[in-house]
Symmetry: C2
Subunit: 211 residues, 2 copies
Amino acid sequence: MRAVLSLCVGAGLAALLAAWRRRRSVREVLFFPSPPCCTEELLAEAEAEGCDGRPAPCPCPLPRSDCAFTRLLRRLLSARRSLELCLFAFSSPELGRAVSVLHRRGVRIRVVTDSQYMALRGSQIGVLRLLGIQVRHNQDVAFMHHKFAIVDKKMLITGSLNWTMEAIHSNRENVVIVEDAEIVRPYLDEFERIWEEYDPGNYTFFPKEND
Amino acid sequence: MRAVLSLCVGAGLAALLAAWRRRRSVREVLFFPSPPCCTEELLAEAEAEGCDGRPAPCPCPLPRSDCAFTRLLRRLLSARRSLELCLFAFSSPELGRAVSVLHRRGVRIRVVTDSQYMALRGSQIGVLRLLGIQVRHNQDVAFMHHKFAIVDKKMLITGSLNWTMEAIHSNRENVVIVEDAEIVRPYLDEFERIWEEYDPGNYTFFPKEND
């Protein structure tokens, strides 16, 4: 009887611990267009991390309250070790600035994108490459249409949102952010599959010498 | 001591029950392009539901094993009461057929879409309207860029995938399917917000008489 009771208590405590862990793990949904709000203070603060003194307050008149866009930036800026980006279109200067901050902080960043959209006006892909961030892209006409990010191998940011100004400030868009290994793991595997497939060593843009 | 033990056992059992419920709830990730596989048998079977006899086997040579596309169709066809569709582009004939099946089965279907993309060649929106399914759309130039569906108010299907043949058979795309009230509820609320906002009574395409 005592053994059964101990087992029951043990299993119960384990389940309670799992439920507590689950409650602490991130599950957030964001909708866009994001209402206007100041992103400058958040980004300037992230840039000044580790430096003496704090940046001057931003003089812009935009609200300081949280909006979908600052929430997205905060989740991204929480990266400490790694960031995988798998993005069809990336032209938001604020998101580009956040990724630059993480790169300077020493976070290992890898980017996969679409060859047609990376060349569009305002694309951040060239900026990231100039900083030394590794970028790979498809070489066929089908779109690399994913729009997801994985923070520190454990938090997934995914949805309909391309990382462009139009998407953030004009379109109806959704983003779901989860820390759930059963969901994050397949996305990590998909990233690694694409990363290998888009290895520049496999590009066939130019015919080989013997072709 | 006995009271503490009872409390502990009770809380433990409740947590175990919650964990069991969670394990049973859907969490699935699909990646596209989907490998080729037969969708005809699945759709013909759904169409024949409630009729005498079974449909003849499909003679096509495509594999019968599950693929991302049939998994998506199956999740959709599981609807019994309601289906909310919030789709930027919808031109897949198979997905259109699945929605028609659900409509005939008596599932309450509401569709929100994008005014520019609903007019493209192959769009299923006109087909659904002819069946009597309610469709509403935006009237501004910003995109209604969502790509999500909610089955029976409890299962969310969302991701980067537009419901087009290119997306399903050519592009790199992702879909996440979850039964998690904390995630599904905000999407339901977003759908209702958009549904009200896109009420045809609010359209201003044509100037009012006194304008």
